[in-house]
């Protein structure tokens, strides 16, 4: 049965610069790495090392304090600072800075208690947790939490190889060059969830990757070519496309019996379970007209973005906008000092007409409804913008603003170039503020009522 997700847009792919470029390890010297303690959804980690400590590759340097995953050293050497450092998200984050001794002395691998095929669910979850695996697609949800919360609820496991953002080819090359890791890593997750079938969804613009995966896929793995349309790789849209199910508002994939993992996450699970290797490296696509030789490069976590640019032959011309991530959802960078983290799948150096500059002046909505047709969540972005700019925040929640996944399809399709996503983000903050206020008021009222009750009882 063919399912489709709603709406969506079809921006130009721009993947040709790097889709044929094999993944190469970083050859440039790395004098030091900066490991931010916030690389995932949830609470930041607490550093477990101090200035002056000697660390080895794969040694834990940060342990989660709440929802999260541990962070490991990506090089061996000496901790020279535990301090605030710039982060790709824009605000400084507590980070462990390690001076590289260049020896790459490995720490003891994570003990794998049994042959991979015989690992129990608990053992897999523990291995995944210990290896610090988080969603490698960008969002960075801790994988072991996804596994344990999905236990018993999930009947379908999907590997996400859609890579629907323009420019990015990191997952594409990974599926092409290391299909074994993706397939077997996915099967480990499948077995851990007690399932007998794994579906890998790949956008049809990567048929070579589909073939490579199929060649390595045992009978219990189905590789499916998906329609090329943004945001195919969004979790909710991928689930809808593959199973026809819709994740309820505010719900998780597990609510409709699905678990979705990125293909790079699956490869990391393979490394953890077969080799006891934690997440210390990742593949990053460095591309855009602003670099000399676009590449897919495998780098230790914590190197500055500048090193990525150097790996791609340096800047070409004047860069216009530098993004961590893709052009639809990536975060614009002020400079090249922030470090590569687990979710950094691409660095784009765009220039000239490659990006649309923020429009100036008053922008007039002509009510064309393109944002409504483009929205994969069936929302009405123009009304968010209208209410937000008019300051009528209390109406936003009723328009379901919190359902928005911020994929940017609306703003992309807007002929008046209204920054709709910006309004939506700010609007969501106002809604949350109003919700918090209402909650506080209700609590105050309840406390008052109880007090009165007590008084009258006396």
């Amino acid at each position: 049965m063919v399912h489709r997700f709603f709406g969506g847009v079809h921006p130009a792919g721009h993947k040709e610069a790097t889709e044929g470029v094999a993944i190469t390890p970083l050859t440039l010297p790395v004098p030091q790495v900066v490991l931010p303690m916030s690389q995932h959804v949830g609470a930041p980690c607490k550093p477990t090392v101090q200035v002056g400590d000697e660390v080895k590759v794969g040694q834990v340097v940060g342990e989660p304090t709440g929802l999260g995953a541990p962070i490991h050293a990506s090089v061996s050497g000496k901790v020279v600072a535990v301090a605030l450092r710039p982060h790709t998200s824009g605000s400084p984050v507590l980070s462990v800075v390690i001076e590289n001794d260049g020896l790459n002395t490995p720490a003891d691998p994570i003990p794998v208690p049994a042959p991979v095929e015989q690992l129990t669910t608990e053992q897999v979850i523990e291995l995944v947790r210990a290896a610090g695996i988080t969603g490698m697609g960008g969002a960075g949800f801790p994988t072991h939490v996804k596994l344990s919360s999905g236990l018993g609820k999930v009947d379908t496991i999907i590997l996400n190889g859609a890579e629907c953002e323009p420019y990015i080819t990191a997952d594409h090359r990974l599926m092409l060059e290391r299909p074994e890791k993706v397939v077997q890593g996915g099967r480990i997750l499948m077995r851990a969830l007690g399932l007998s079938k794994l579906i890998i969804g790949v956008e049809a613009n990567k048929m070579d990757a589909v073939e490579a995966l199929k060649a390595k896929a045992p009978a219990d793995v189905e590789v499916r070519a998906l329609r090329v349309r943004y945001p195919q790789g969004s979790e909710k849209q991928l689930i809808q496309n593959i199973t026809g199910r819709q994740v309820p508002p505010g719900g998780l994939p597990a609510h409709v019996g699905c678990a979705v993992f990125n293909v790079a996450t699956a490869a990391a699970v393979y490394d953890a379970c077969y080799e006891g290797k934690p997440v210390t490296h990742r593949v990053v696509t460095v591309t855009g007209k602003g670099v000399n030789t676009p590449v897919n490069v495998e780098v230790p976590l914590g190197i500055p973005l500048q090193t990525l640019v150097d790996a791609a032959g340096g800047l070409k011309g004047t860069p216009g906008r530098i993004l961590s991530g893709g052009p639809m959802m990536g975060v614009a960078q002020f400079d090249l000092t922030p470090a590569v983290i687990k979710g950094t799948n691409a660095l784009l150096v765009l220039r000239g007409r490659e990006f649309t500059p923020t429009p100036k002046g008053t922008l007039t909505c002509i009510h064309c409804g393109r944002c409504v047709s483009a929205c994969p969540m069936k929302l009405t972005p123009l009304f968010f913008n209208q209410r937000f700019t008019a300051g009528r925040y209390e109406e936003l929640e009723g328009l379901r603003i919190l359902d928005c996944i911020e994929c940017g399809s609306c703003a992309y399709s807007c002929p008046a170039h209204i920054p709709l996503v910006q309004s939506i983000r700010a609007g969501k903050m106002e809604v949350r503020r109003l919700q918090a206020e209402a909650k506080a008021q209700a609590e105050a009222a309840r406390a008052e009522a109880e007090e009165k009750k007590e008084v009258s009882a006396k």
Binding site: P304, Q306, M328, F355, T364, G369, T380, F383, V421, Q422
Partner: protein, 343 residues
Amino acid sequence: MNETENKVLTNRLSVGSSPHIGSVDSVPGIMLDVIIALIPSLAAAIWFFGPRALTLVLVTVASTVGFEALYRKCMKQPMTAGDLSAVVTGMLLAMCLPANTPYWVAAIGGAFAIIVVKQLFGGLGKNFLNPALAGRVFLFSSFPAFISVYTQPGKAYWPSVWHAAMDAQSAATPMGSLHAGRLPDGLSLQQLLVGEQAGCLGEVAALMLIAGGIYLVLRKVISPRIPLFYIGTVAVLTFLFPLGGVARTDWMLYNLLSGGLLLGAIFMATDYVTSPVTPTGRTVYAIGCGALTVFLRYFGIYPEAVSFSILVMNILVWALDKAFMPHRFGTPWFQKKAKEAKK
């Protein structure tokens, strides 16, 4: 890392909210597509009604663009006369006037459309009525004598550019006959299709209007939803309820090809600003336009019903958008039903 180099970079980089790319479409680009889509109909009008068709369009466009510029300037508001939306309004206004309309009347219509209907409500995107249609209806009710003199196609030549033949005998429009409950005499469907009929400039050449509509759909400027549901509703209703003992199919086809239906369904009802944004809202709006058109054609006092139907539905757009919000993601009807069944 080189500190000075980084500092230079910091000053150069532009940051902004995602998404960082946008489609190449723009508001003037969309307006230009509408203008292009109107050109075949305009060409047909010039062919049938002579050069006065063209000069009349030029007059209304000059009026709409001129008054837009004048208003924005006087009110010290950002200049918007260049966004081509006033050009579209001017062209559409001329398209629903007969070739004989005196220039000064046409110019007043343009001024009314731009100043009263559009700018007083805040300009592009804020008006709740279609400016061209409202301008036309304003002229119909204010200067009926001047704009109900229809020339026979092929009878107007160069002199008419300077002198509107107000004393001429008004030709019967097919819509007039239909309103009286009979098919127009001696007018074949082929003539209606190519546009060899008396009527307003943009209401005669059915094929050219459809060609413009197909262009707009292919360019993704409009979705075919509104025109199809509008025309479909009129087709069904006229087929089911023919008047005057005429054969059903004939009655239906003459109704579809006469009067302002195609112009209205393709170019007026699809006006972004004054039509709903939600898919279901658009369907209901189009069906409403169609039903009202047939109702007014059958029971109204004017032969022409399309303008009034669309204007009435324009007023309801706000309510339609509110009432027909898209179904919320993650709450499919079957899940809801399952929940209700459990209860």
